[in-house]
């Protein structure tokens, strides 16, 4: 049982707030992703859980036991670092074996356990090599094997795929997902890549400037973002956000008139995703000249400018037009999101 409870934890350096009042319970065997841009406090939160940073306030409980005052080695965790953090003087076998060796685990079991871990990440052919003789992907797999060899209660992964190329990132991501499922350990994964978050997580925590913005399943985060920050951070392309006003249930902005919205009159930010609108011959809610066209293969991305905002819509892959041509866009109002124009908070359900 490795439920993790973060009870109002904060981290401050003088007047600078790294993490503010983070309160969350992570269920046993859950895969939680901390998502946010650089400097949002996600890595600091993970380091506090690992014991590499002290908390300024709040309690951390692992398996019901308060661990604030425990050394990292006594928290029964394993961590995978962005830089791999392999020991360059040791070969792959020794690297994987290291946690067993320093913890005084029965030496007769070392070989079997190391080989098991190496097999899981397909490293059996590289056991004699030094880290310098491995590719980035292989090094990251050594780091994974070193983390799983001891079978800890909690896995912490700090942007483990950031240093890999796009193709390798996809395969290693699948490997991590599979490992996490097989090992059934509680996993906390830090990333700034929303695709990693969406594909891996049971739950996602979106953070900004040390403050939690939203906690939810990937679907919840995607479908009902709590504010404009989450809406603009999740999804590729990001959600279209247009500033305008509601007058009698009709959203009005430059080149845009979108009726059928259930909201009180006043300034709002309207959001909709690229796939929740389409290009029509005429009579659409948005009518503007094309700003740019991008061919994606499976679709064509058509962008127009509304006020200061760039609005992107996915059209058919065969759709062709010239920049500057007038285009009419139909927006599905049942997929529109309304946000408070001042606070950016979500309005309504």
């Amino acid at each position: 049982m490795a439920e993790i409870q973060l009870r109002n934890i904060s981290k401050r350096w003088g007047s600078f707030v790294g993490v503010n009042n983070f309160d969350l319970t992570i269920a046993d065997k859950e895969f939680l992703v901390l998502l946010g841009p650089s400097g949002c406090g996600k890595t600091t939160t993970m380091r506090m859980i690992a014991g590499l940073e002290d908390t300024t306030e709040g309690d951390i409980l692992i398996g019901g036991k308060r661990v604030n005052d425990l050394e990292p080695k006594d928290r029964d965790i394993a961590m995978v670092f962005q830089s791999y953090a392999l020991y360059p003087n040791m070969n792959v076998y020794e690297n994987i074996r290291f946690p067993l060796k320093v913890r005084g685990t029965d030496p007769s079991t070392h070989k079997e356990r190391v080989l098991q871990a190496a097999e899981r990440v397909e490293l059996l052919d590289f056991l004699d090599r030094k880290p310098a003789e491995l590719s980035g992907g292989q090094r990251q797999r050594v780091a994974l094997a070193r983390a799983i060899v001891r079978k800890p209660k909690v896995f912490l992964m700090d942007e483990p795929l950031s240093n890999l190329d796009a193709k390798l990132r996809v395969s290693t991501r699948a490997q991590i997902k599979n490992l996490s499922h097989d090992l059934a350990a509680t996993t906390i994964y830090v990333t700034h890549d929303q695709i990693e978050a969406m594909t891996l997580a049971d739950r996602v925590v979106v953070m900004k400037k040390g403050v939690v913005q939203q906690v939810g399943s990937p679907t919840e985060i995607y479908d009902t973002p709590a504010n404009t920050f989450v809406a603009s951070f999740i999804g590729n392309p990001a959600m279209n956000l247009v500033d305008g006003v509601i007058e009698g249930g009709v959203f009005k902005a430059q080149n845009s008139v979108i009726p059928g919205l259930d909201a009180p009159d006043g300034p709002v930010t309207l959001g909709f995703r690229a796939e929740d609108a389409n290009v029509v011959e005429s009579g659409g809610e948005i009518n503007a000249p094309i700003y740019t066209m991008e061919l994606l293969g499976d679709a064509t991305m058509v962008s127009v400018r509304i006020g200061g905002a760039l609005v992107a819509v996915k059209a058919d892959k065969n759709y062709r037009a010239e920049i500057g041509d007038q285009v009419s866009l139909h927006v599905h109002t049942d997929h529109c999101h309304l946000f408070d124009a001042t606070t950016g908070e979500r309005m309504g359900p």
Partner: protein, 341 residues
């Protein structure tokens, strides 16, 4: 780089090395194979009221003319290398034949000046080098954990022994261990022995010189290791911490391997530096109990009789000693280099 470009690139350095390193060595080797000409003697017959007798006198003019004509002296091959003042081949063979055991053999050997100097030089080198490496590393680790406001001050005081000239430093310690000095008086009080003198005992003199050597050289290894610690990847240390490594295990498996190239560098420099130990012997006035190869050369060159050939021979033997001493380290570095290529 093209061979031609490389040639012009390396030429100034190669020329300087030839001029300032190779030529002096060749000159010293040549000198070591020659000895000063003997004086030219002339026999004159002096006759007086009581008869005639032969008198042998030095022909000053002829001697001066000969020495001017052939300033290098006469060629004697390796004779100087094998004489009593150097390798003492005959004396060593005699000692080997007549000694009852190894202890007695080495005892006789220690009466020969070159071997006495060699014994102290090697003892000093192989004791001071590892001790200063260990002490320097310990100071570096300790300073690295200090609060940043304290670091500058502590680094300055830690470097003081290296800043002080070796002769001055050894003189300061020399007076401190004098029976009137703070250490000497304290030791006499501690052991309740008013006659206790560090300077009077060969063993204690050696210990004193070694302690001084470590004190003087440790700051160098400290400052190099401290710089190395600043490049230590924090991720590796933190990973080891999470893996369960204790402080000692982190030092052993992460910090020391990271600093190993620097250890090789410092060891190499200090082996050479300690092998030419000289100033402390003068500063401590300890020639009666401890002499080194460098002091041996200095002694030949000083005084009224300047024994150039003897000094040259000692120098060549010292160069050979340094080469033998550094060979394992150089071979290892070369192997590492080839392995990387």
């Amino acid at each position: 780089m093209k061979h031609r470009t490389f040639f012009w690139f390396i030429l100034p350095t190669a020329a300087a090395m030839l001029l300032f390193i190779a030529l002096p060595i060749v000159s010293v080797v040549t000198q070591s194979l020659h000895t000063p000409h003997d004086a030219v003697l002339t026999v004159t017959k002096n006759c007086g009221p009581f008869g005639c007798k032969d008198t042998t006198v030095i022909d000053q003019e002829a001697t001066a003319a000969l020495r001017t004509a052939e300033p290098l002296g006469k060629f004697v091959g390796l004779d100087i290398y094998f004489d009593r003042g150097h390798l003492a081949v005959a004396e060593v063979a005699q000692a080997w034949r007549t000694s009852d055991g190894l202890g007695a053999f080495f005892s006789q050997l220690s009466n020969l000046p070159f071997y006495r100097a060699m014994a102290f030089t090697l003892t000093f080198t192989f004791t001071v080098t590892p001790l200063m490496l260990i002490l320097g590393f310990m100071i570096a680790v300790a300073v690295n954990t200090l609060h940043r406001h304290l670091k500058g001050l502590v680094i300055f005081f830690s470097l003081l022994p290296m800043i002080v000239s070796p002769l001055i430093g050894s003189l300061v310690l020399f007076w401190m261990i004098d029976s009137r000095g703070v250490i000497g008086a304290a030791l006499q009080w501690l052991f309740s022995d008013p006659n206790l003198s560090l300077k009077a005992s060969t063993g204690l003199t050696w210990v004193m010189l070694i302690v001084y050597g470590v004190w003087h050289a440790a700051p160098f290894s400290f400052v190099v290791f401290y710089a190395g610690l600043q490049t230590l990847p924090q991720d590796q240390l933190e990973s080891a911490q999470i893996d369960g490594a204790t402080r000692w295990q982190r030092t052993r498996y992460v910090i020391i391997p990271h600093l190993m190239p620097l250890v090789t560098f410092v060891a190499l420099i200090q082996l050479m530096d300690n092998f030419r130990v000289f100033e402390p012997i003068l500063g401590f006035n300890s020639e009666a109990h401890a002499t080194s190869l460098s002091w041996f050369i200095y002694n030949d060159l000083g005084g009224e009789t300047r024994l150039l050939s003897s000094a040259a021979t000692s120098s060549v033997l010292t160069i050979l000693g340094v080469a033998i001493l550094l060979a394992p380290v150089l071979v290892r570095t070369w192997r590492d280099f080839n392995a990387k290529v």
